[in-house]
């Protein structure tokens, strides 16, 4: 493939996994996604089953990760909450990537649209993410899908800005001119020549947005303005465990570790992807 990135000699995966920490991060992510997807089907875990006698039981044989104030099993709640938190992260990364690619390509390719769209991106980015997200959730309502919509709106400008900048560079390259001379349609040039060649920074940024969205969701749930508290997420679990921090610190410890390690792994993966996709940067680091 002719492009601005030189084709790596080894496969992308091999380059990424050559760094042990990135390999570890990827393994961790595969593990938690696997648990989130398959565990509820394999084990009878009821996150809502209450047992009044077993309130706030510390981690042990009966409850591996303890039980909460309603006697609910922290482990099953953690697994179910993980499904929601991961779904939100992935949903936001995908939606923001699609919307951002669309807006960014328009701004980068059509000079006339560049000014207005760039100012719009600037204006959207002037709102701090949590503030914009809570305002949007306040208006849309706190369902999982609305949180995904709200956070996608928040993070779309980040992708759009990167897509625009990369498109501006690529559209001046000789092969785009050649394609135009050959009579290719604009949509063909955009999808075939431009988008393919700017995909690396988009993938990297989408990975980071996955991480930011999970953090933001936890923040919204903690503030009590995110997903409806009846749906467990890692953020709502910490919010609920907060009042028992003296007696049962494990109630915030486990969901806290789950979020932190997931976000850390995603950031490491994003870094690893960036290094692998752009060998020039990798060599400098």
């Amino acid at each position: 493939m002719a492009g601005i990135t030189t084709a790596p000699e080894r496969s992308l995966l091999a380059v990424m996994l050559s760094r042990r920490i990135v390999a570890l991060a990827l393994a961790f992510l595969i593990m938690i996604v696997g648990i989130a997807v398959f565990a509820p089907a394999l084990f009878s875990l009821d996150p809502a089953a209450m047992s009044v006698r077993q309130r706030l039981t510390p981690p042990g044989a009966a409850y591996w990760l303890g039980s909460d104030a309603f006697g609910r099993d922290v482990l099953s709640r953690l697994v179910h909450a993980g499904r929601v938190s991961l779904l939100i992260g992935a949903g936001v990364a995908l939606a923001a990537a699609f919307a951002g690619i669309f807006i960014g390509l328009l701004a980068g390719f059509y000079r006339r649209l560049d000014g207005p769209l760039s100012r719009l991106i600037d204006a959207m980015m002037a709102f701090p993410d949590i503030l914009l997200a809570i305002s949007l959730v306040a208006i849309l309502g706190g369902s999982v899908i609305n949180v995904i919509i709200a956070l996608s709106i928040v993070y779309t400008p980040r992708i759009a800005r990167i897509v625009r900048a990369s498109t501006l560079v690529v559209r001046e390259l000789p092969y785009v001119e050649a394609a135009r001379a050959l009579g290719s349609s604009t949509s063909y040039i955009l999808s075939r020549h431009v988008l393919l060649n700017i995909s690396s920074p988009i993938i990297v940024q989408a990975t980071f947005i996955f991480a930011y969205a999970m953090l933001a969701e936890a923040g919204l749930s903690f503030l009590g303005v995110g997903v409806d508290p009846a749906t467990p997420t890692w953020g709502t679990m910490i919010n609920e465990g907060r009042q028992f921090i003296d007696r049962s610190p494990y109630l915030i410890l486990f969901p806290g570790l789950a979020i932190s390690f997931s976000v850390l792994s995603l950031q490491l993966l994003g870094d690893g992807l960036r290094d692998a996709l752009d060998p020039k940067i990798a060599r400098q680091m």
């Binding site: 204006a123 002037a126 709102f127 701090p128 009590g224 850390l264």
Partner: protein, 313 residues
């Protein structure tokens, strides 16, 4: 220079008008009747009709937009439904702790990030450098409210080194109130130092590879002087930008941190406004914060001119 300034300020005004427009749209896209939403489920149709009239929601959308923009430009952001006061007054009454919290945490994060970032770049690839990069990434991965809760539990409740929460009574002195903000700003400062640290390090790495650094060294100049005078001065520009950009991060962090430490600032106000469906306050906070962000970034851009004499527009 004057032309550049004019262009930047016009650009900023356009962005501010767009910010106002977005804030206008956000409240209007609410599914259903905004007045009924604001009043909650117990309200009668009559109440909703009255509120619609009071807020001008019964008029055509373009008239509403024109009125809203004209009011906003004059500094009138409407009235809070809960406090029944002008939004600007409600915001002003709660700005102090948020502003101090933001400034103090910015100070702490620079205090942590800049020296460590410089040293990590200088000792690039060393164990120190590796540890610092990992620690920065870890700090950016832990939710700030979790760090806050843990710090509050141990440093304030357990050891009593800091006040646990709040902002002092109305009679307490300014220093007493600031004392309440030390732990929250430390927490927020540590969380936000990660970005500044990575930027400082990257920026120093760029500069340390330049020819004039080699020249300075080959002249036999003291290392300290090479790093602090020649390198840092040139690495300073990207560091200034990132400090402007962390403003958004600081505000987002402040919203959460104020909630953890129960500080009566803008963050707590906006979360309560969401819970109370006080849309004018939500809208007003969005506008004020976004306009501040735009202004701060214009200022940091202009600071370039002062730091780097080579930058000419």
């Amino acid at each position: 220079m004057a032309r550049y300034l004019m262009r930047r300020i016009t650009g900023m005004l356009v962005v501010v008008l767009l910010v106002l427009t977005i804030a206008f749209i956000i409240v209007r896209v609410a599914p259903g009747d905004p007045a009924a939403l604001m009043l909650g489920p117990e309200a009668t149709a009559q109440d909703a009709a009255e509120l619609r009239q009071r807020l001008g929601l019964d008029r055509p959308i373009l008239v509403q937009y024109a009125t809203f923009m004209a009011d906003a430009v004059r500094g009138d952001l409407g009235r809070s439904l809960y406090f029944n006061q002008p939004v600007t007054r409600v915001l002003a009454a709660r700005a102090e702790p948020t502003v101090i919290l933001a400034l103090m945490s910015l100070f702490f994060s620079m205090l942590i990030a800049i020296p460590i970032g410089i040293y990590a770049a200088y000792r690039r690839g060393s164990a120190f450098d590796q540890t610092v990069i990992s620690a920065a990434m870890l700090a950016a991965s832990v939710p700030s409210f979790l760090t806050g809760l843990i710090a509050q539990r141990w440093l304030a409740t357990e050891y009593g080194w800091f006040p646990v929460s709040g902002y002092g009574g109305p009679e307490s002195s300014f220093f007493e109130r600031v004392r309440f903000l030390i732990l929250p700003s430390l927490v927020l400062g540590i969380v936000n130092s990660a970005l500044i640290l990575r930027f400082t390090r990257a920026s120093m790495l760029d500069v340390l590879g330049e020819d004039y650094i080699r020249t300075a060294r080959s002249k036999g100049m003291e290392e300290r002087r090479v790093v602090l005078r020649h390198a840092l001065r040139n690495a300073g520009i990207p560091i200034i930008t990132v400090i402007g950009l962390t403003f958004a991060l600081l505000v987002s962090g402040a919203v959460v941190t104020e909630r953890v430490f129960n500080i009566p600032g803008l963050g707590n106000l906006v979360v309560n406004a969401v819970l109370r469906r006080d849309y004018p306050v939500i809208q007003g906070t969005l506008i004020v914060v976004a306009v501040l962000y735009v202004a701060i970034n214009l200022i940091t851009d202009l600071l370039y001119l002062l730091v780097d004499k080579r930058v000419r527009y």
